[in-house]
């Protein structure tokens, strides 16, 4: 595996979380130490630490988020510059996922933060209303306190006018006459007497703070609000000095419950709103920070998830592309690792299996190729495969030797034109013909006297295969065999007429010796001898004609004219034979040696007439089929046995039991020299048909 294994995600996360925790711990400790050095109260320090933690978490998240996003962008830019495989898909995927997470969350954050910051806004008119109401309450308070202070002064006057022993009934009378709801007298902050007619009085009189009394002592007057089970109670006190003794004279009242309750409720509310106004900014910012923390958590989770998903998707794609590229470059030693997702794992396994099979096939192919190369190199025939422009694809040593191609020569022609002009001429013609061609000796006698048999085969992709075989030795052997066979045949053929000649000569000699030679007998014997001699001459003429077969000189001619000439020639020759010639209208000119083709037709028509014993029917018809001209010569004679059909074109083979057996051999030779084919088949319903195919 070429690409390094990535560390698992949970290891990265663990590392990141540990790092953040350590940084958080160190920074918090450091901050707490600073605060402790500043001698702050614990509550204030804790509050600051909490706010600090919020800030710290936000900044940490922001930094990590910025790091993750910047890192992703840098990686994308680097991948884009490096043209790394799969970067387009990765870029699109990451940007899409980030946009999907970032845009809605940021939009929501902007909207929500605006709501949070303005959620605690005090309505514009409220401060003014509060201020006016507060002034009213304070005015009401002042009036009440002033009134109570007046009552306390009245009580003080009553007490100053009466001896201390009569203070109780005097105060009782003062209260009963409506001087005050509550009347209390303290001596040096100790309760001396207390009277009241208010229910609230009963629950509030026992717990007057010393500071209130001390303030009366110090300032000469004071007031005090207290709340008991019966409601609110307002007291006002004045200082009274009789001799050296200090007294605190207090008058009190319990305001109407709804009014006092409303006053307390308003002042409580006013205080709450004031506190809110002071802390609004801090509280709003803290809530905003908390919301920012949540938002960043969501964004971070989204971005991380997007990165994780895109990496999980694009990383295998990148691996796949990389390995595919290697295969494309011919490196089949590829292997994809095990993937975490089932689908990818299945794909990777399939890819590995495919690559393995490909490698196996390639190795097998290489072995086969090596085997074939070795085989071709050791083949006696020469093989050259080449491009249409002559660039050699494959050549074996035998071909190089026969065609005298220098070692390292990469082109077949025009090199062949100089080394083997005869072969080049044939090859040029064969290539121009656009079909398979085969040359045989002696036409392909090379300049050094070597005789070769050549063949050209068309290969796929426009290539050609030239097969060259050194047939010099074979031809020599064939010639020897042919001459031997011909000698035997000639000897046999000559021997056949010699026997009757010898028999007639011996009989003439015997009768001449015995003196009983009858002239008629002698004439008859000599006629027989002359016939045999004439047969021998005919046979020798046929041999001579076969040996003198001319080279075809093809030129375009009208086949219809030839058929007309033949029809005229055979008219009335065999009265009981019927000759028919058929040619479709508009038949194209035929490129062949007209005289040789006429000889072929005459030979075949003579054979047909003989096969029908001059009493039958022979027909010639021609047609164009598959880019070639097909000529059929049929008769309704006895036909040719299957066993002889393949041998009829060999020399000295005759189905008639007489003749030289060279006729069809000559026909076959002429057709082959025209790069055509000839075969024999059964005619329907009876007889034989010779099928000639010639190129147009």
């Amino acid at each position: 595996m070429s690409s390094p294994q990535r560390p698992p995600l949970h290891r990265n996360l663990r590392f990141l979380i540990t790092l953040i925790a350590i940084l958080l711990g160190v920074s918090t400790t450091f901050y707490v130490l600073i605060l402790r050095n500043r001698n702050l109260p614990a509550a204030l320090a804790a509050n600051r630490v909490m706010v600090f933690l919020l800030w710290y978490a936000n900044i940490t998240f922001l930094l990590i988020l910025a790091f993750v996003i910047v890192r992703q962008f840098v990686k994308l830019v680097l991948e884009r510059r490096g043209r790394r495989l799969g970067f387009r898909l990765r870029t699109r995927l990451i940007l899409s996922l980030m946009a999907l997470v970032l845009l809605p969350v940021l939009y929501m954050f902007i909207i929500a933060s605006d709501l949070i910051l303005h959620a605690g806004d005090i309505p514009p008119g409220l401060p003014s209303v509060l201020s006016q109401t507060r002034a009213l309450v304070e005015d009401w308070d002042r009036n009440r306190i002033a009134a109570l202070k007046g009552r306390a002064q009245n009580l003080k006057a009553v007490l100053e006018a009466a001896p201390p022993a009569t203070w109780y009934p005097a105060v009782q009378e003062f209260v009963s006459e409506g001087g005050a709801q509550i009347a209390e007298v303290y001596q040096e902050r100790r309760l001396l007497l207390s009277l009241g007619r208010s229910p609230a009085y009963l629950s509030s009189s026992q717990h007057l703070p010393q500071d209130f009394l001390r303030e009366i002592e110090g300032a000469g007057e004071s007031f005090h609000w207290s709340e008991g089970r019966g409601g609110w109670v307002l007291r006002a006190g004045v200082r009274m000095r009789i001799g050296r003794r200090e007294f605190q004279v207090i008058a009190g009242e319990s305001p109407e419950a709804p009014l006092a309750g409303a006053r307390a409720a308003f002042l409580d509310l006013d205080q709450t709103i004031s506190q809110w106004a002071v802390e609004r900014g801090t509280l709003g910012t803290t809530r905003l920070l908390t919301f920012l923390l949540l938002t960043l958590s969501v964004v971070f989770a989204g971005v991380w998830m997007g990165t994780y998903l895109s990496r999980n998707f694009t990383h295998p794609v990148g691996l796949l592309l990389e390995e595919t590229r290697k295969i494309g470059e011919g490196d089949l030693d590829v292997h994809l690792p095990q993937a975490s997702m089932d689908e990818w794992d299945t794909l990777f396994k399939g890819f590995n299996s495919m690559a393995g099979q490909l490698k196996s096939y390639r190795d097998e192919l290489a072995r086969e190729r090596e085997y074939l190369s070795s085989l071709i190199a050791h083949l006696t025939p020469g093989l050259v495969s080449f491009e249409p422009d002559g660039t050699i694809v494959t050549v074996n040593p035998a071909a190089r030797r026969m065609l005298r191609l220098p070692e390292g020569e990469s082109r077949l022609f025009p090199e062949l034109e100089h080394s083997s002009p005869v072969l080049w001429t044939w090859l040029e013609r064969a290539l121009a013909g656009g079909r398979e061609a085969r040359g045989e000796m002696p036409d392909l006698a090379l300049s050094d006297g070597t005789q070769v048999s050549a063949g050209l085969v068309s290969l796929p992709a426009g290539r050609h295969l030239l097969m060259v075989e050194d047939v010099t030795q074979l031809i020599r052997i064939q010639k020897l065999a042919t001459w031997k066979e011909a000698a035997q045949r000639i000897a046999h053929e000559i021997k056949n007429p010699l026997t009757p000649i010898r028999l007639h000569a011996e009989r003439l000699k015997k009768k001449a010796v015995e003196g009983v030679l009858d002239p008629a007998d002698a004439v008859a014997s000599l006629d027989a001898v002359l016939i045999e001699v004439a047969n021998m001459k005919t046979m020798l003429d046929a041999f001579s004609q076969f040996a003198r077969m001319p080279i075809p000189r093809p030129e375009p001619f009208d086949l219809g004219e030839l058929f007309a000439q033949l029809e005229e020639m055979y008219r009335g020759v065999h009265p009981r034979m019927r000759f028919t010639f058929s040619l479709p209208p508009g038949f194209p000119p035929l490129h062949a040696d007209r005289e040789l083709l006429r000889r072929v037709m005459v030979n075949l028509l003579d054979n047909a007439a003989e096969a029908c014993r001059m009493d039958g029917e022979a027909g010639v018809e021609a047609r164009v089929a598959e880019g070639a001209v097909e000529i059929r010569v049929r008769d309704n004679g006895p036909g040719i046995p299957d066993a002889q059909k393949e041998r009829v074109f060999q020399p000295y083979v005759s189905t008639k039991g007489r003749g030289s057996g060279m006729g069809l051999s000559i026909v076959g030779r002429i057709i082959r020299d025209h790069e055509g084919t000839i075969r024999v088949a059964d005619n329907s319903p009876r007889g034989a048909v010779f099928i000639i195919t010639l190129p147009l």
């Binding site: 800030w55 308070d141 703070p209």
Partner: protein
């Protein structure tokens, strides 16, 4: 040399002097710092001037408890870093109750409540917050006796956070007493 300032320059100069005076005057500072020693117990009298900034006043009036923290430290001089013998923290917390129309003042020494006062007038409340009179601070440790020592004092008036992260305290600069020696 005759100076001939334009009206505009004069106004600017007056404004600058006024702003400087306001800013200087607004800066809290400790004043009238005096010590007394009786039976090896050191008592201090100190006042804070310019303690009530608008921010402090706003907090007090809104009913938030506001705490002034006085820190007194008994030290001996050393070359690099002074030696601390004892340290005492006095905190005065003021909380206004608008319903009862009174200020509650809590006095703590090293976290222990030692006095509570209720006053109706801001004058008394403010005086209670900025003025400590002959308040016993600490016993002179045995090791410090016979050594030249001095007492430092500083006061923290308000703790706040700028930008919600940077601690920023409103406090009066530290002042020191003269060096003295406490014997047996």
């Amino acid at each position: 040399m005759a100076y001939n300032f334009s009206m505009r320059t004069r106004i600017l100069l007056c404004g600058a002097v006024l702003c400087g005076a306001i800013l200087w005057g607004a800066e809290p500072r400790l004043a009238e710092f005096s010590l007394s020693v009786e039976h090896r117990v050191i008592s201090a009298t100190v006042q804070v001037e310019g303690a009530f900034s608008p921010e402090v006043m706003e907090r007090i009036r809104s009913g938030f408890p506001v705490t002034f923290i006085y820190t007194f430290t008994l030290k001996s001089e050393r070359r690099l870093r002074d030696r601390t013998w004892s340290k005492t923290r006095i905190s005065v917390t003021c909380k206004y109750d608008p319903v009862r129309v009174e200020y509650r003042l809590n006095f703590r020494k090293d976290g222990q409540l030692f006095d509570t006062r209720y006053v109706h007038h801001w004058t008394e409340a403010s005086r209670g917050m900025v003025s400590l009179e002959n308040l016993a601070l600490f016993d002179v440790p045995e090791e410090a006796r016979g050594r030249p020592v001095f007492v430092t004092s500083r006061v923290n008036l308000l703790s706040r956070t700028r930008w919600l992260i940077f601690p920023d305290d409103l406090e009066a600069p530290e002042i020191s007493s003269t060096i003295f020696t406490v014997y047996e």
